[in-house]
């Protein structure tokens, strides 16, 4: 049997584990989402997320092994998200992963969550070869990347304030929609006119982005409406708001490609599931829908291209909350 990697991910509100082969074949990918739990707060509550991770981490790992039809004896290394993310949440997965690897004498691969998203593209059946230009857009991050090798990337630009997924969540809240906001707005926007409102997207120098002004523009548009008017215009507002975000992302991605000269363009992260963004970039490679949001298959995939640490070298390993610059 080929080398098997057990991946574990607990950086935000998904408790996930996966078994991936060294050649990128996903044998199992289990994601236990806490979205329902956090919906009543309109966003992720760190302490509640961490408590839930502790309840779920062992059952989710067991389910991933079971779904793959393998035992821990068959696993050759453990890949785990070390950061960035919620530190209390990260520490649950990292501590469990360290314990599993140490108990079995296995190497541990600390994985950067953002590299994990990009590594979704390296999974079978159709792994992408660098070089390519990549948009990583999620609830926590929005980055434009130049990817020349599977081991890493260069950051070309990033959001100066809200992440794209965060902009969706905040917009959804202003429109009285549920959480997570991206899927809700996407669904509602299909019934709306994307040109009904003109929402400005801030012009930022270089390849950076800014979404905070957009949210303010939506706030002003909603504020002037009665409850009945809002109900009547909600779909138009959602469609116009989504159009503005998609335009900003697609525009910046095109500008990034002009700089890199890469022929291949890719989009990963939760926002990659957005149907309008997919339509706006017909030639881009998108992460498979089920692997856009946080999962552990992407972490195990990234673990194939990151440095493995032999025991006992990882026993004091700590999580890091923000992305290293």
């Amino acid at each position: 049997m080929s080398t098997l990697i057990l991946g574990i991910e607990t950086s935000c509100d998904e408790t996930a584990a996966a078994v991936v082969e060294a050649d990128g074949v996903v044998q199992s990918s289990v994601v236990s989402s806490q979205a329902d739990l956090h919906a009543r707060y309109g966003g992720v509550v760190p302490e509640i997320a961490s408590r839930r991770h502790l309840e779920l981490v062992a059952p989710v790992v067991r389910a991933a092994l079971e779904d793959a039809g393998v035992a821990l004896d068959d696993v050759d290394r453990v890949g785990v998200t070390q950061g960035p993310g919620l530190v209390g949440a990260l520490l649950v997965g990292l501590s469990a992963a360290k314990a599993i690897a140490w108990a079995r004498g296995l190497p541990l691969v600390p994985v950067d969550h953002l590299r994990g998203h990009v590594a979704t593209l390296y999974l079978a059946p159709d792994p992408l070869d660098p070089p390519f230009t990549c948009l990583l857009a999620s609830g926590g991050h929005t980055l434009l990347l130049s990817v020349r090798e599977r081991e890493g990337y260069e950051v070309l630009g990033s959001t100066l304030d809200d992440a794209a997924g965060e902009a969706f969540d905040k917009g959804a809240r202003l429109l009285g929609l549920g959480y997570p906001g991206g899927a809700e707005i996407d669904r509602l926007a299909r019934d709306g006119d994307p040109e009904a409102y003109s929402f400005p997207v801030a012009r930022v120098a270089g390849l950076d982005l800014s979404f905070s002004g957009l949210k303010t523009a939506l706030l002003h548009a909603v504020r002037g409406l009665t409850e009945t008017d809002l109900a009547a215009r909600r779909a138009d507002l959602a469609a116009s708001y989504q159009r503005a975000i998609v335009r900003a992302l697609a525009g910046r991605l095109r500008a990034a490609v002009e700089r890199t000269g890469h022929e291949t363009v890719a989009v990963v992260g939760g926002v990659a599931a957005n149907s309008e963004l997919r339509a706006a970039l017909p030639d881009a490679r998108f992460a498979p829908l089920e692997l856009c949001t946080d999962n552990a298959a992407m972490i195990a995939s990234a673990a194939r291209f990151a440095r493995a640490v032999e025991p006992p070298g990882y026993l004091a390993l700590d999580a890091y909350p923000s992305a290293p610059l």
Binding site: Y41, I48, R51, A97, K98, I100, A103, D169, D318
Partner: protein, 194 residues
């Protein structure tokens, strides 16, 4: 039976390796390096991880994050080694190490954890004539001594929830996944994404 015990609920993470009731070794550091201590304990005893037959883990109350580190390590070890375990309250372990004492754990935000009361202000404790131990007793030494409590010197070992004490309190082992942390305080429902 080779038993591995540890407690990460307070700022000092303790660990111990026992052969039945005999303590083979004990260590103290911080939660994030707990497994280094565990590794060292096993090496000293010339044992391998697979030799561990049961786990004992401190369940707090204490710091949420750091208590969870211990529980997550326990869940990972139990999954990998297929062993049973037991949870022991950090307050109970402290009490077991200091005859007749009131265990007091720092709960931050100017509060302490004491048995049966959740988080309370140290000013509200009735401690006249009582021996108080634990990091909460140390942090609020002035307040508690002014109320008539007796508190051992800072470096007294009775202030530490030593993991060997947890191990001695265990009466039965069960599934490690079912060992719950004692949070003793509701989560702060602040959203992360603004």
């Amino acid at each position: 039976m080779l038993v591995l015990a540890f407690d990460t609920a307070t700022d000092v993470a303790t660990s111990a390796l026992l052969e039945d009731a005999e303590v083979l070794g004990e260590r103290a550091s911080v939660a994030k390096t707990l497994l280094e201590d565990v590794d060292a304990l096993l090496r000293q005893a010339s044992a391998r991880p697979a030799d561990i037959e049961a786990l004992v883990v401190g369940t707090g109350p204490g710091s949420f994050t750091s208590t969870r580190i211990g529980l997550a390590v326990a869940r990972g070890l139990a999954l990998a080694l297929d062993v049973a375990g037991a949870g022991v309250s950090t307050l109970d372990a402290l009490a077991a190490g200091a005859e007749g004492a009131l265990p007091v754990i720092d709960a931050r935000r100017r509060e302490v954890f004491v048995p049966g009361a959740g988080a309370v202000a140290p000013e509200d404790l009735d401690v006249a004539g009582r021996l108080c131990v634990g990091d909460g007793a140390l942090r609020y030494r002035d307040v508690l001594e002014a109320k008539g409590a007796a508190i051992p010197p800072d470096d007294d070992i009775r202030h530490l929830p030593r993991a060997s004490l947890h191990a001695r309190l265990v009466t039965a082992y069960g599934r490690v996944d079912e060992i719950e942390p004692i949070y003793a305080r509701a989560p702060d429902a602040r959203r992360w994404r603004g």
